[in-house]
């Protein structure tokens, strides 16, 4: 089975949130719901502070807990590895929002159902990149076949960071080139 994935170059990310807004626009999200989020983490002491940003959406895991726990098969994995969500089947039980260690699926009050990043699968099917990828002003987000991404960027990339859950839980399809400070265990979540 093929597996699409994301590569994120943290060393280039300025935390400008263009990807987040492009995702909001693509998915017509109401405030309060984000499929792609940019989170900052910081530490150090003046005059040597540090901060890094992590742009993260659904990691389209190879062993997705959300799919595993979904009682109606609304959450399902496509042949290309995308974790997709069928709104017709969703009963809004929210198991997926609890079982995803990354907290990705979002319960939408308005519809009473869950929604999530679908890797812009309709764009992808037309040969385009997901909206976030082509929006990045720093060219920090890349998308493609995970093994191909690994072949290009794998040497410097990780799937585990102290701020993320252990990748062995779900085998996320995401590669991250970390800043060195992102490997430090002592960090604080930046307030927006």
């Amino acid at each position: 089975m093929a597996q699409y994935g994301f590569y994120f170059d943290m060393t280039a990310c300025g935390g400008c949130k263009t990807c987040q807004i492009a995702c909001n626009d693509r998915n017509d999200l109401k405030p309060g719901v984000l499929f792609r989020k940019v989170k900052g983490f910081e530490g150090g002491k003046f005059p040597m502070p540090w901060i890094y940003y992590l742009s993260i959406s659904c990691n389209h895991c190879q062993e997705p807990k959300c799919v595993e726990g979904c009682p109606t098969q609304a959450m399902h994995k496509l042949d290309n590895g995308i974790v997709a969500h069928d709104k017709e089947k969703c009963i809004g039980c929210r198991y997926c929002t609890w079982s995803c260690p990354y907290g990705h699926p979002q319960f939408i009050e308005e519809t009473g159902r869950v929604n999530k990043c679908d890797m812009c699968k309709d764009l992808v099917e037309e040969g385009e990149n997901p909206a976030c990828v082509d929006s990045c002003t720093m060219r920090a987000i890349h998308w493609g076949d995970l093994e191909e991404l690994r072949a290009i960027y794998g040497a410097e990339a990780v799937s585990d960071l102290p701020v993320l859950p252990n990748s062995s839980k779900t085998t996320p399809s995401v590669l991250i080139k970390p800043k060195s400070v992102a490997l430090l265990k002592d960090f604080m979540l930046k307030e927006d």
């Binding site: 400008c16 017509d28 003046f46 890094y52 002003t137 927006d192």
Partner: protein, 865 residues
Amino acid sequence: MTKFIDKMNELTISRRNFIKASTAAAASLSLVGCGNSLTTTNAGQAAAQEGQWITAACWHNCGGRCLNKALVVDGIVIRQKTDDTHPDTPDYPQQRGCARGRSQRQQIFGADRLRYPMKRKNWNPGDGGKKELRGKDEWVRISWEEALDHVASELKRVKETYGNQSILAKSTGPALNAYGGAMTYWGCTSDGAWPKPQQFMNGNRSRGSNDRLDLRNSKLIVLWGSNPVWSSAGNPAYNFKQAKDAGAKFIVVDPFYSDTAQILADQWIPVRPGTDTALLLGMAHYMITNNLHDQDFLDKFCVGFDADHMPEGADPKENFKDYVLGTYDGTPKTPEWASEHCGTDPDVICSFAHEIAVTKPMTFTSSSAAARTSVGEQFCQAFLTVGWMTGNVGKPGASVCSNNRHNTQSYGGPTLVKAGGDKSPKSTNPIYKEATFPGPDPFKTDWQGIVIDEAWDAVINGEYTAGVRGKQSCDIRMLWNIGSGNTLNQNTDLMKGIEAFRKVEFVVTSAHFLTATAQYSDIVLPATTEWERVGGFLSGNPEMLIFYSQITEPMYEAKDDEWMYQEIGKRLGLDPAEFDPLSPKQKLFNKLAGCTVMNEDGSGFETLVTITAQDIAEMGVKGKPQEGRITYKEFKEKGIYQVPRSHGDQYVYIDYKDFIEDPEKNPLETESGKFQIHSQGLADTINAYGWNTLAPIAKYQYVTEGYEETFANFEKKEKSEYPLQLTTIHYARRSHSSLDNISWLREAFQNKLYIHPMDAQARGINKNDIVKVSSRHGAVIRPVYITERIMPGTLTLGQGAWAEVNDDSGICIAGATNVLNGGLPTGQGVQAYNTCIVQVEKYEGKLQKDYLWPKRIVAAQGGGK
């Protein structure tokens, strides 16, 4: 698919229904989102098959002006994208837009758009009625006819009773100019103190940087007070990143470890706001005493560095070197001396000075932030002087660039592609013919205009400063804000601004939303945005030109500002055919036909666009067919022309190359033909403005609301009641005040006060607290962001928030920084946004997150308020 089409039918995304839906949403005030009735991804999918991608203007004054495309279905934009007109490479990058540009459909189709003209309920023609109710009165919807009649008759009355100089306008426009003009305000809001030092010290080369691709030849790049990730979004930070990847070391000087610094900086050097001059003098001292300055360069290309190289007629004792060494004033400007003011560690000052002196080639670049300070000219003098002391000029990778910001951040050299003029007759304000930016000639005596910082005070107290003429009296009766942005929000001294608005007899404003300026007016006119107009051109960086098209018909009853001018003009007996004879379409065509692009050999300019007789007929304009590089249809379809660039191409530009190669043959346009470290002309000009004195060389003087004023007694180090320094910087959420009402952006960027843990702790302030920030001029409340990234003793708060001033408490809950920034005119008429002293305390009240605030929709606009 059938199911899907059913769904589409349910949604019925016609523009008419959309407007109905958003009116209903406005009425119920329930809409915190984008005001778009289309909420499902499926709708987007279907529309993608049927809609059309059109190039949409991103016209805000942010400097980026990137490519913005809108997917339009039946007049509604259901999705946006950015540049995909060519493959993306670092040499020839796509012009990708930022978070702000990507949210723009929430702006144009926002439920809070002004739909109809309205007047204040308790307004009366002639005397203004209950003027004290401005800002809190009820609104009454009126017809365009009534609105325009009122505006014209009030204008006539004020002119005939008090004269044109009793009307205060930021931008007068052709009708008002034809009617005798108005008193205007002027200033250096953007460039800070740079224009005059540039004029006198380096011959008016306004920016003076090398080409974008040449940055990659630098071994060291110093960014002084520059945060392009926020202030020049789009490609600038990406361009700098290419230089970093090519091996350049970056040093960022700033009170704040910015989002740009965290990508680029190998070293962050904190400095207190407004004390950069002291830091630079300390660096100069280290360089001089260690003989690290480039004496040959200074001897050959500069005047004023030492007693042996002074400009004609100058006192040899007043040279820079002896000032730094303290030869005559007894105070050597040592790194220790500097540190007492600027707060930078003396060892860091030495190592920084050492590094810039020995690393070649180096790019030494500053934006305007450090110059947006009281007597910011002293910083400009010191920055250029210390830059020149390293000799990094006129060679690949070497550049001392002043005022590198906005659309030229990371760019240099000539504009490679540009639009033509619209060929309208020139319209000048008869009573102020000078430039409103950067300001008038202070030695001239024929202008009537008020520096921005004095504008509100002048309305209230009837007096303003007029260069060598000193104080002049004035009698302002009317505020004219048509086609001029959100001046009450964006001018300094907002609290006094409210008082001024409540004093005059009449205030009229055109706007897209109920901005602060509109809110405190008597008559409000709904204006179109660029998405509703005929189209036009935008130039950001020098390598590209955007040709945007109309996206949708004017929303509701919104009209172009130009139409308002014409209608008001008609009512005053003026003929629009005289003051504004060309149609919007014809103006657009004239700009199009006049587009030029640099030749491929770089020797001159050629016509850009091929236009056929058929194109002209289709456009319905007058013109002649012409031959150019690309067809009109291709240009319109792509929406951009970008000059392809590659490594070592013919466009590589090295600033001052000719001067450095042969200074005799290619002198600068300065008094001496050389770089003027000493300029008596600069000092005399600044003194002539009438607010400060300035020495002809870089000297450090204490300034209004500078660091030293945070002390009641600086020598004894006793703090004053305003012990903290605030910078009010460009914020990622908005472009000045534009886009501050966009929910997605409010959610992403929560407009917090940045404070160091030490300063927070000393005040009992904890995470998630709300704080009150007070200055001598006003107070705001905001949530705090407690962070090690801000220098202790300093704070930052993004400028441009939409003021929400509570009349009873006098507190602005939105954190509009001009509540805190006083009207403190300085230098050449600089708005000293970054020298502002404040106190912070914990605020016990609650504050809802900004993105949950109700939109500003009043009953007269179909809302329920």
